[in-house]
Amino acid sequence: MAVPIAGIRRPALDPSPLSAPFWAAAARGELAIQACTGCSKMHHPPVPVCPDCHGTAFDFAVVAGTGAIYECSVMRQARVVGFEAMVPYACVVVELDEQPGLLVVGNLLGAPVEAARVGSAVRVHFEPYGQGDLQLPQFVLVAGAKAR
């Protein structure tokens, strides 16, 4: 069971063989996305078979961790057990710069929740998960960047 971080109790994470490389990279402070060795297309969450070429061989490519907010929502009520102390919190869906439509989820940290806006430029930031040496990819605004 994960231990609370600043009053937050995240669910215990049980990585699968598919997702383990993602979490191992995150523990090193790297955002790594599954990439098909056959056609180079990146997929998130990781897939067992490439939907583009049906290949089954993959690498995990370290990406820049930059992108723009594609969709977002601010939770205003305590409706998720373990996250009561974090309310209000912003969840952002980030389209990574490396590939159109490649989406990764995070919380927006280091800014008021009102700053979570579709189009704003963000970059990855890692914080401790509260379970072993796991780290969680999160996002912060890129200062001075123009929204897209």
């Binding site: 049980d14 699968s16 997929h43 969450p45 929502s73 939770m75 205003r76 998720v80």
Partner: protein, 392 residues
């Protein structure tokens, strides 16, 4: 392919009592609605030889007691009882409309003669929709660590993109919300009967997960909706006004690979479903004069208006501003009050309303219509849509 084209008819429809928290167990409400729908068709339970539903409990972390938290076809078969069943079906995702489409096909194929279709929903006391995820694997690994386990938040995401992409605001949606509640105010079956709200009530309603507020979510209720279908030929022998199934489709698959629902993924699947329905029915948007679009979350009808081609993509929030979709307009929308006004009944407020409007049984809220579009469900999680006609 052999399209349905009015070979099957809906001949009975009913609701149980509907309320925030009723004293009766869900099993009793399901018996009430299904018996009433069968009686409405001029039939008896012994005539029913087919049954179809979507059984899942209506909320996260629900119990699993048959007759309390959900009502399976097994429960109804032995409790009603239905002694002459020859066909049964429980779909794994969707709403009442998707299970109805299965029944339509079963009747058309001759698997059964009179199929009963229902959706029963239980709303227990206490907070609704609290997510409590202790251990995650699969797609949840990329959502739950961020507190993104709540259904409202998951569905807020595509709407955030719609608003940003096209410039839609809560002010725009207020027009639909207020009108929906005005429709519900004329519907004695609705949980919000005689309780209209103002634009300001909507704009002031507390946010759950922005941009969705409490009044953007349908109201959880105890209740059940039910219909009976048979062939158009058999319908002639019943003492009822049949409503014909001109076309139907049950679909709702995600074509995109992403950790969350996206606006683009929603629209891709919704347009696929819409074009399939128009092909199957042999009609198009210009033939429709009554709209019943699923409003489990308030913004869904905007996306469906666009997907079905009633207005161009990205314009529905403007399309709904004039009187076109009001009860006296060219395309009255959700005259029952929809899920937002009638209660969280997974498509029954769309389906039963269409049947009764086409039969001319809606009293104070009756509109002039001859061909009704019914859609309920998410294009990414199972969805059923039908064109229903008063004339064969």
């Amino acid at each position: 392919m052999m399209p349905i084209r009015n070979r099957v008819a809906i001949v009975g429809s009913a609701y149980s009592r509907i309320g925030r928290h009723l004293d009766a167990p869900l099993g009793a409400l399901a018996l009430e609605a299904t018996a009433s729908a069968v009686a409405d068709a001029g039939l008896t339970l012994d005539d029913i030889d087919g049954i179809s539903n979507y059984p899942n409990p209506s909320r996260l972390n629900a119990g699993n007691v048959d007759g309390v938290d959900l009502v399976t076809v097994n429960y109804l078969a032995r409790t009603a009882p239905l002694r002459h069943l020859r066909w049964s079906c429980s779909i794994t995702q969707g709403t009442i409309t998707s299970s109805l489409v299965e029944a339509v096909h079963a009747v058309a194929a001759g698997a059964c003669n009179y199929a009963l279709v229902y959706r029963a929903m239980h709303s227990p006391h206490g907070p609704f929709g609290i997510a409590d995820v202790r251990r995650v694997s699969g797609n949840g690994e990329f959502l739950a660590p961020y507190g993104l386990s709540n259904t409202v938040m998951a569905f807020a995401l595509p709407y955030s993109r719609y608003m940003a992409k096209y410039g839609a605001t809560r002010e725009h949606l207020a027009t639909f919300i207020v009108r929906n509640r005005r429709n519900a105010a004329m519907n004695p079956d609705a949980v919000f009967f005689r309780s209209p709200i103002s634009r300001q009530d909507y704009l002031d309603s507390p946010m759950v997960a922005e941009p969705l507020s409490v009044l953007d979510c349908d109201m959880a209720v105890d209740g059940c909706g039910a219909v009976v279908v048979t062939t158009a030929e058999r319908a002639k022998d019943l003492p009822v006004t049949p409503v014909y199934v001109t076309g139907c489709v049950a679909l709702g698959l995600s074509y995109d690979h992403a950790p969350v629902q996206t606006l683009e993924g929603f629209m891709h699947s919704a347009k696929r479903l819409a074009s399939t329905l128009w092909d199957n029915a042999g009609v198009g948007p210009a033939d429709i004069d009554h709209l019943n679009l699923y409003d489990g979350f308030s913004y869904f009808p905007l996306l469906w208006l666009e997907a079905f081609g009633f207005c161009p993509e990205g314009e529905a929030f403007e399309f709904i501003q004039d009187a076109t979709t009001e009860p006296g307009g060219r395309l009255p929308l959700n005259t029952s009050g929809g899920a937002l006004g009638m209660g969280r009944l997974h498509g029954s407020p769309q389906l039963v309303e269409a049947v009764r409007q086409l039969q001319g049984r809606c009293g104070e809220r009756q509109v002039q219509c001859s061909m009704s579009l019914v859609q309920a469900g998410s294009p990414l999680h199972g969805c059923g849509a039908l064109v229903l006609s008063a004339e064969r």
